[in-house]
Symmetry: D2
Subunit: 282 residues, 4 copies
């Protein structure tokens, strides 16, 4: 039997779970996991994520889609159906530091992150060897204040129809237009526990403030800097001995963990944006 | 509307979620949370925990129970229906240390643990003032090698029909008979990360072994010592400076957290025993 | 033998450790713990904290003080000598929530926090029973916009010469003058991971921002709101299901842990303020 | 100025710190970090680790060594003096899984682990490409029950005079003789929270026991299986959904973190074996 995932969203009212589970039972699917969330018990939005197994899912997909379309009209429902065998494509933007890129490459190869990295894009040539060793096309797209627009245009060409774009310590601010091309599928890692230390040089700011924990935040990118919906955050302890450089070093291990986790959840359809926040069916 | 919980278990086969969610929809209940687990996708046991809201739950309980009985026969299903307003009763056994008892008392009073502590039983008189201050009847039931049987008989009388019995650092081994009276509703806190350091004096053993983390484990009690299904575990870091006494002190804060969490989950019907393990719908 | 602590600070230059350890050796003290920190290897400030045992410390204290005064002039050194047997006095300010106060009371009684709570001051009468049960004088000092100055004057009288003042979820902003009375000995618990969510209602703000971890911060109070040197921080994980009320509930356990830890370190002379940051010899 | 480290051990008696810090001051060294531990305040063993900076350390090393030899006799003291610039050599033993090896390679290249990996030895050929990509000689030394002795002899030749040997998920039990060649410089990563789940297949055992946290332990290897002094441990949370395979996957990230941390501390002279336990000056 093939594994599939179904994510639906609709206004919350009694009966929706019964209807959807009946539909899956009728086609012979067995639900293996189910998670749901209601933004508000009265008048909110209902979100449901189902995992199921169904023989010949690829062939019977159209039948299922037809039934879901019907329900979508009746229940004002949006839905997304994914075959677990599908491997989404990911384009990764980096600058000069490789720790997050290395981690994503490792997790893909280890089978822990089911996706294909189709391109590495960078405003610096430094990480070409890392990409090349992993057999991933590397694209050097320099960015200067005067050429930013062209650079983004070039980057868009390279990214093509990738399912997901990841800013893996890409030290450039992308334009609102660029963000708009990848709604809810452009993920950034910010090297602080947001909303603390928005913007540049957060480890210096964290050191100056004398915090006892440093953090990292993976979030969807929106036009407002470091303000998009948060997917995952983690922290690590530091003490008074930690210099800014020590914080950077410790932080690297937090950053790679947080971004890899966020990307993994995203490609498994576990993250749903709801306003400024995310639902994560971990 | 009133809040209710339904936990069902049955052999795993397609359609059970559809049937149960239809039943709840038909009586007008809105499912507010749903978690499920299958011990094995093929031929295993399916467990489902639903939270729902339903107007006049108390009055319509019988109707719901009748329908569930019907399904129970069709699906070889066991079920438990609870009104969230119900406050289970808890009897707590202690010896001389009060940290776990204090924590349970605090959480009940803070409203974080929805239960009523109906008795504190101890083989020592030391904690009577703690119980009295909290307005809980205290029962001193001394235990000596020769009087253990009578002591347990006396304890059983005191416990009566309490919904849950908690051994909150009760430094006595209870008999297999006693365990048998409280299947899946007798919880102990062991002051180690089980299965490491079974038995007496685990902090001394942890110190001798030179571990870098100490732990605590809340588990259901079965006749075999420290071997019952684990509900919750947590650890805390220690270093080479920690004496056995330091470990005891640090451990107290882990123990109280772990046991309070386990008891809270239990009284919210979130813990289901499956063989030697537990499902925890946290 | 009696236990003592010595904390010294001076400009960093070679030899200071040799001189101080020689001094202690000469009086017959055995150093049982030693921690040091240099703000900058070249031209920074050196901080040293020693624990030692010395027979008849109380009687020989004057001798030791004389020798330290001599060194202080030679090395531009400040120092603080404490007998471990000394129990500092603490005044605690609260409003209506008792979780942090209860924790401090518990830790004092358990012997984990070696201090004496000499007064509980509150702008509300609610927690009088908590203080009374613990045998601590309770002082109701209402605060209104018009009477703030008088209220602080009254509070100062009550506090008297307490060694430490703790704001244990005291929902009032204290004046710059009040802060000035307790330099480096006025500790507040803020219910967020500072510098995120400065000011009122941080759990609401954390919820709106959709953070995945909530935190608490214990810091010395300075005239600028929530900007004083941080002593300790901790976080707890929350997910999309957590309401603001859930965050408050989870947060209570983080707050009590963080503040109790900070106060414990403070009374053991483990916290040294260095500019906007703290050295914590944990 | 050059950075150096000095670790000394001797019977604990007053004056040793004074003497050593005087020695360093006299040669013009500035102590930048100092940590100490006494196994027992009366009659125990005293351990001191100093970091210092000293101009022309390499040239003045002999002078320092002479002075230390003198003190060693007076104080029954053992000592180890290291120039921070020195990069220890490490031989790594693996079998088929690469996650820990990859992590060590990454940390060396990132500069977080100051050591040189001089050989990768394996009983399987699988990881040759990983070693080759990193520019490290790979040695395939098959092990069968009948050839174990010869295999170890061959391995010893390869290791040569490496400063440290690391068993990075090497699925073979090494002989007592092999252990004896590398006293306190043979480190293993065991994939459980020791002493729970000694021996083979700990994730299966952890799953069967139903633990809620899985762990990993880095320890010095001694002839008794999984019983050597523990250097570092860490855990990760799992729930009832985790299969044995899930635990293995989660565990990989704990294992690599724990072993990398232990190796880093070891090469920085931060780990001192004391009986069955370790002192870790982290």
């Amino acid at each position: 039997a093939d594994a599939g995932r179904l994510v639906v969203r609709c206004p919350d009212r009694p009966g929706i779970v019964a209807v959807l589970s009946r539909l899956l039972a009728d086609v012979g699917a067995n639900i293996t996991d189910s998670q749901q969330h209601s933004s508000d018990p009265t008048g909110g939005t209902f979100t449901l994520r189902l995992e199921f197994v169904l023989a010949d899912l690829a062939e019977r997909r159209r039948q299922l889609e037809g039934a879901l379309d019907l329900l979508a009209r009746q229940w004002q429902m949006t839905w997304r159906l994914t075959e677990a065998a599908h491997r989404p494509t990911v384009a990764i933007f980096v600058s000069r530091t490789d720790h997050v890129l290395q981690e994503l490459i490792y997790r893909v190869r280890a089978g822990d992150l089911r996706a294909d990295i189709t391109a590495v894009v960078s405003n610096h040539p430094d990480l070409e060897p890392v990409a090349r060793t992993a057999g991933i096309p590397f694209h050097h797209v320099p960015v200067t204040p005067g050429t930013k627009e062209q650079a983004e245009a070039r980057a868009l060409e390279i990214v093509g129809d990738a399912d997901l774009v990841v800013l893996a310590r890409y030290m450039q601010i992308v334009s609102a237009d660029f963000c708009g091309r990848f709604p809810e599928r452009l993920i950034n890692i910010h090297h602080s526990f947001l909303p603390a230390f928005v913007g540049a040089n957060p480890y210096q700011a964290a050191h100056d403030r004398g915090v006892k924990l440093i953090g990292a935040t993976a979030h969807y990118v929106t036009p407002e800097l470091d303000a998009g919906p948060i997917i995952e955050q983690e922290v690590a302890r530091v003490d008074h001995r930690a210099t800014v450089e020590d914080m950077r070093r410790v932080g690297r291990y937090v950053e790679r963990q947080v971004l890899a986790q966020a990307v993994t959840w995203h490609v498994e359809d576990r993250v749903i944006v709801e306003g400024d926040r995310t639902i994560v069916f971990a």
